[in-house]
């Protein structure tokens, strides 16, 4: 017998182990991810600010790169997780996949914003403009718009089951669209010449190491946020069930 989020029909009976964070069985609990992120972030800072050499032409401002790229990577990873969770939700109809999808999408929007802001901070001194219409930039902006739309769609639908289902449909379409957007802009750009060439970095080994450490740290941060956010979502939904039951008991 499958109850809403594994809540027993008897009021007050705790969930055995709360149903959602499946992650905890495979990879660890929110707490371990949080510790890992907490330890990894200063290390990544050290590698970005001290270990990596000063870039010859761009100077110290190039060090943003070690946070900007990991942020963009995590954003993309987060939307990929939303995509997979959406597909599994439509197939299995288990609420934990919806919880995973919405949590990951929210974190993805956060990191996309971060990547856009950091990218602008980097671009201004280096390219002399906050923004350029480069395929990667347009695609990132597209990601931001589409997943803000995803969150808006969710908040606009009241029936929770329908919200989960519709969000899953949109989450799939949005992600399928990402490479299409990227390549259409690339094609378009072959006609309209690119004003600024991209990063144009020749990474030396120490730079690469700093980047990889940054990627690892940011991924831990993502996992920590994801497991916390989805645990919160699971508890919120469980509370809604319990509140509803309490109300009904008081009525009876």
């Amino acid at each position: 017998m499958r109850e809403y989020l594994g809540v027993s029909p008897r009021l007050g009976t705790p969930m055995a182990t709360h149903e959602f964070p499946r992650l905890r069985h495979g990879l660890g609990t929110p707490r371990t991810f949080a510790w890992a992120a907490l330890l990894a972030m200063p290390v990544a800072m050290y590698f970005a600010l001290a270990f990596a050499p000063r870039e010859a032409t761009m100077g110290n401002v190039q060090r943003i790169f070690y946070i900007h790229v990991p942020a963009a990577w995590v954003a993309f990873l987060a939307f990929f997780v939303t995509f997979v969770a959406s597909g599994v939700y439509l197939y299995r109809r288990q609420e934990r996949w919806d919880i995973l999808a919405v949590s990951s999408a929210e974190i993805g929007v956060l990191f996309t914003s971060l990547a856009l802001v950091l990218g602008s901070l980097w671009a201004k001194p280096v390219w002399g403009a906050w923004w350029t219409w480069d395929p990667r930039l347009i695609t990132t902006l597209f990601l931001w718009m589409v997943y803000v739309g995803y969150l808006m769609l969710r908040s606009a639908i009241e029936d929770p089951t329908q919200q989960a289902r519709f969000a899953a449909v949109f989450g799939i379409v949005a992600f399928v669209d990402v490479p299409i957007v990227y390549f259409s802009i690339r094609w378009w750009r072959t006609i309209h010449p690119v004003v600024f060439t991209g990063g144009g970095l020749n990474l030396d080994t120490r730079m690469l190491v700093a980047l990889l450490v940054g990627l690892a740290a940011m991924t831990f941060l993502y996992l920590a946020l994801l497991s916390l956010r989805s645990a919160i979502e699971a508890v919120q939904r469980r509370n809604a069930v319990l509140l509803q039951e309490l109300e009904e008991r008081e009525e009876a």
Binding site: R2, P160, R237
Partner: protein, 260 residues
Amino acid sequence: MTTNASSGVGVRGSEDSAEKAATTQGILCRDLRFSYGPRQVLRGLDLTVAPGECLVLFGGNGAGKTTLVRILATLVRPTSGEAWVGGFNVATEPSMVRPMVGVVSHQMYLFPDLTARENLELYASLYEVSDGPGRIAELLGLVGLARRANDLVRTMSRGMQQRLSLARALLGGPQVLLLDEPDTGLDSVALQVLSQVLSEGLGNGLTVLVATHRIGEGYRLGTRFGVLARGKLAFEASRESMSVEELECRYRAYLDGHHP
């Protein structure tokens, strides 16, 4: 008026085989649950309607009547538990269920900007009705709308729209008929047509489920009655074992929240 009850394909026999018949031809629900998020609407509903039976479910607002009909009509999937219509699972085999089910809802399921005939023509092709025009003419006659056949549905009264909706539900030659609040807005002609259709269809092994909150009309239509309270079948009785007054009394008790 002639009835062809004697030629019916048959309510297959005795009481104990009723459930078996329900699993292959009628309606069967097992531990059916449905939640709108935190709010549970159906809480483990068990239900059997055998061919030749008309089960009338009474229930107040929010008792889960409409949800049950929507699940059986393959409009929504149950949260858990199972439901079979005509031997097919509504959640996993909806495309097998749909051809044999006719639904009359409190929504009309009609296109107001099409004429009565155009509406039925659309549904005749969706239900793959052979001899569409003949069948449409017959049904329009049955519900007394032959003269309004070429009028736009939005120019018709609610009662007429309900009758047309009944004709639409019967168009595909359903084996199972689901009626959700069929009596709200039904005029006397429509009610008469409905009870005629039911009495004749039941003789031919039609399975009918009616959801309503009106005891009088419900009692007229049903062969068996149930009360839906708090998402469960709280009470069940056959027509023989219960007078309309007794039924009303029991239903009121459930409505008021007492559980005798």
